[in-house]
Symmetry: C2
Subunit: 161 residues, 2 copies
């Protein structure tokens, strides 16, 4: 089944994020999809995304955990509500906290696979556990606590468009 990535459903006024916004031409434009109960995102770091030569920059890995987490949070909220992801009002999430464990150096030059599972979802909060794999080896574990964008902020952002 063809499935558009979560991020393609974000309304324009929420699609400027450097990590995941499809309208940010300088950004990473990550794409996340469901694969059963897990969400998955594939990403190819650029040659200059290094910590030391040959290994991926930890800040980029943190960014992947972050944006794949908030994307998964949004998708999970829509799924729980039984609503399509392009329906109004938008359910969008911000990161309240981010935790990343670097288990071993992540090699540069292979496509990275970011996988997420929903640990908790209630009210306006979603907790996502994630891992990053390089060549099928888990190199990073992470957790994101995502909270729904406050209504007041949503209205402000809509007003800016």
């Amino acid at each position: 089944m063809t499935q558009a990535p979560f991020q393609d459903y974000y309304p324009d006024y929420m699609a400027h994020c450097y990590g995941c916004g499809r309208l940010n031409e300088y950004g990473y434009q990550i794409k996340s999809r469901w694969e059963g109960d897990e969400s998955v995102c594939f990403f190819d770091p650029k040659p200059y995304h290094v910590a030391v030569p040959g290994y991926v920059y930890g800040g980029l890995l943190a960014s992947l955990i972050d944006c794949h987490g908030t994307g998964t949070a949004a998708a999970a909220a829509y799924r729980l509500a039984g609503r399509p992801m392009d329906s109004e009002p938008p359910l969008r999430y911000l990161t309240a906290s981010l935790h990343v464990e670097y288990l071993k150096p992540t090699p540069l030059g292979v496509t990275l696979e970011v996988r997420g599972v929903v640990k908790e979802i209630k009210d306006r909060k979603v907790v996502i556990a994630e891992q990053i794999l390089a060549d099928r080896v888990v190199t990073v574990r992470g957790e994101v606590v995502a909270v729904q964008v406050p209504d007041q902020m949503l209205r402000e952002l809509m007003g800016k468009e």
Copy 2:
């Protein structure tokens, strides 16, 4: 007293990091210095480093916490050893874990101030507590557990130059 930033002392083979390497022309090239017992770094995000319009991207904030943390870890280790930062063998640190709390949205368009203090330093491990301020308001708190680069990895990196 004029004081060169920590990152300017990294040997060339450790100066390619996307976050803090002076030789990474695409990277952030952050600069950290002591200010008494605190380390401080000032950074101006680019206009496209946004999460939503008007607010700084969380992945960039995590990167600042990360690299300012490892830089502070290195500087603290040299200070503890009573050695200048350009002396051999190099004391360089990698991130074992990174924790970031986003307390409130960080406004774009002001110089960010990242401040760090050493919470713990022993053997090959340093823990750094940090905060990011925008217009003197703390918007982010973070913690980095940094570990000294293994000797084997150092030798590999030196061999690549």
